[in-house]
């Protein structure tokens, strides 16, 4: 009897790079569209709808990008740590690929947070860089991202790079709360009454809403960018398999 086995749908089906590749390709445009939509709404609220701040005028509006970016930068590091940890413990290739794909986006948001924070700081405090707790923590987080990417690119053997990166990411994840706490303490001690980017404007409801929508938009963007990048990583790493060669053939004709 030549009957095929009934296919049981299982999430594990997608844990192989070959199955995940088309899924990622299908989902990616949706997340990209959501990202554009949410960011547009968030920016509109931030720049047009939210009221002018009493003490800081219009300048504070950059906080909508700055805070959302810094939330994403921390969140993505934790996600990266999670997936690389899964790849280390369960010895799955796809999880490590996702972690590798997340890192540049995480670094991007960290850089964005630093950049926008700097733009906010200049008119507000007169310096391009103020060593306040958030900015300094973001700076160290940027170093952690760069360290992860540098380690992975320095190791030639792919599996070793994945696992070494995982150990580093996990060590970093444990350290992040400690670093954040230490830097916060250091900042309050040395600057007295700290002028912090979080404390400055008391949050009106619209401001908070705008920031949340912005954060969601950034989240959608991260997913879209990571899915696109993971597809590239999969193609590169699995280039010796038949299905990738067929896929590349299909894409280039």
């Amino acid at each position: 009897m030549a009957m095929s086995k009934s296919r049981r749908f299982s999430l594990y089906y997608f844990s192989s790079p070959q199955s995940f590749y088309p899924l990622a390709g299908a989902l990616q445009p949706w997340f990209a569209a959501l990202a554009v939509l949410l960011c547009a709404v968030g920016l509109y609220i931030g720049f047009f709808v939210a009221p002018t701040d009493a003490t800081q005028g219009e300048v504070y509006r950059i906080i909508f990008i700055h805070v959302a970016a810094s939330w994403m930068s921390m969140f993505l590091y934790l996600v990266m740590g999670f997936w690389s940890g899964v790849g280390l413990v369960l010895n799955t290739r796809l999880s490590s690929m996702v972690a590798t794909a997340l890192a540049p986006t995480g670094a991007l948001f960290t850089f964005l947070a630093l950049w926008t924070g700097s733009f906010w700081g200049k008119p507000t405090w007169g310096t391009w860089w103020a060593w306040d707790a958030r900015m300094t923590s973001e700076l160290i987080l940027l170093f952690l991202y760069i360290g992860f990417m540098a380690l992975q690119s320095a190791i030639d053997d792919q599996r070793r790079a994945d696992k070494a990166g995982a150990v580093l990411a996990l060590v970093g994840t444990i350290n992040i709360p400690i670093i954040y706490f230490s830097v916060k303490w250091w900042s309050t001690l040395h600057q007295g009454a700290s002028v912090s980017l979080t404390s400055a404007p008391t949050m009106a409801k619209t401001m908070l809403l705008g920031m949340l929508i912005m954060a969601l938009g950034f989240w959608m963007y991260s997913i879209a960018a990571t899915l696109a990048r993971v597809r590239c990583v999969i193609l590169e790493r699995e280039r010796h398999t038949d299905w990738v060669e067929a896929e590349i053939g299909r894409q280039t004709t």
Binding site: F143, A154, G172, I179, F181, V183
Partner: protein
């Protein structure tokens, strides 16, 4: 298990003793770096006294970074690391032996010399004592976290700088509270909280770092 740790410790200390030059060089580096700061900043005593805790601590971090190159790389090159992985003793124990010997050879001398250098910066006596104690608590943490970094970058090209890139951000809490302890003593507020936190970091590192280091070594040897 203790026997194996003792033998690893004994071997490394013997090797360090026979290559005294390497150890002394790292110490001289520490002294030179510390002396560079007044040359760069100017000899004004109040400014130097304010800078001193940070300068001494950062120089200690950098000296520790340099010494990490000697932790696993030579063993990796002559095959003794492989044998350690095959020893049949828990790798975590052997790693602790290596880290302890690394601290005794690279960290402890810093602890002893730093107060002398603190005199160059006109730190008061109680601050010098606090400097010594803070380094005593902090340098083992540097050895422990540094060991993880050294293990991750074994045999990788450019590993000297890469280790620094990976490990220095992780040292930041120790730096903040270590230098902060001395600063607090100079300012007159107490350093007890700092010591408690440094002790906490030490306890956490002792528990977690050897595991991470052993895992990293196995990954590096694959």
């Amino acid at each position: 298990m203790i026997r194996a740790l003792a033998w690893v410790l004994r071997r490394d200390l013997l090797l360090a003793f026979r290559r005294r030059g390497d150890v002394v060089n790292a110490l001289v580096f520490f002294v030179i770096v510390v002396s560079l700061f007044p040359l760069g900043v100017g000899p004004e005593p109040n400014q130097l006294r304010g800078m001193a805790p940070g300068v001494l601590w950062v120089a200690a971090l950098l000296a520790c970074m340099l010494s990490l190159a000697r932790l696993f790389a030579p063993d990796h090159q002559d095959g003794t690391l492989e044998q350690m992985l095959l020893a049949g003793e828990p790798l975590v124990v052997l790693v602790m032996g290596k880290v302890i010997s690394h601290w005794l050879v690279s960290g402890l001398p810093l602890v002893l010399i730093a107060p002398l250098l603190g005199l160059q910066f006109d730190l008061p006596g109680n601050a010098l004592a606090v400097l010594g104690v803070s380094l005593l608590l902090g340098t083992p943490v540097l050895s422990l976290i540094g060991a993880v970094g050294a293990a991750l970058t074994l045999g990788v090209r450019g590993s000297g700088v890469l280790v620094a890139l990976l490990v220095l951000p992780l040292f930041v809490p120790v730096l903040i509270f270590g230098a902060g302890a001395v600063g607090a003593t100079v300012a007159g507020t107490g350093a007890e909280a700092h010591f408690l936190l440094l002790g906490g970091f030490l306890a956490l590192s002792v528990v977690l770092a050897p595991w991470a280091c052993a895992a990293a070594l196995r990954i590096a040897m694959e």
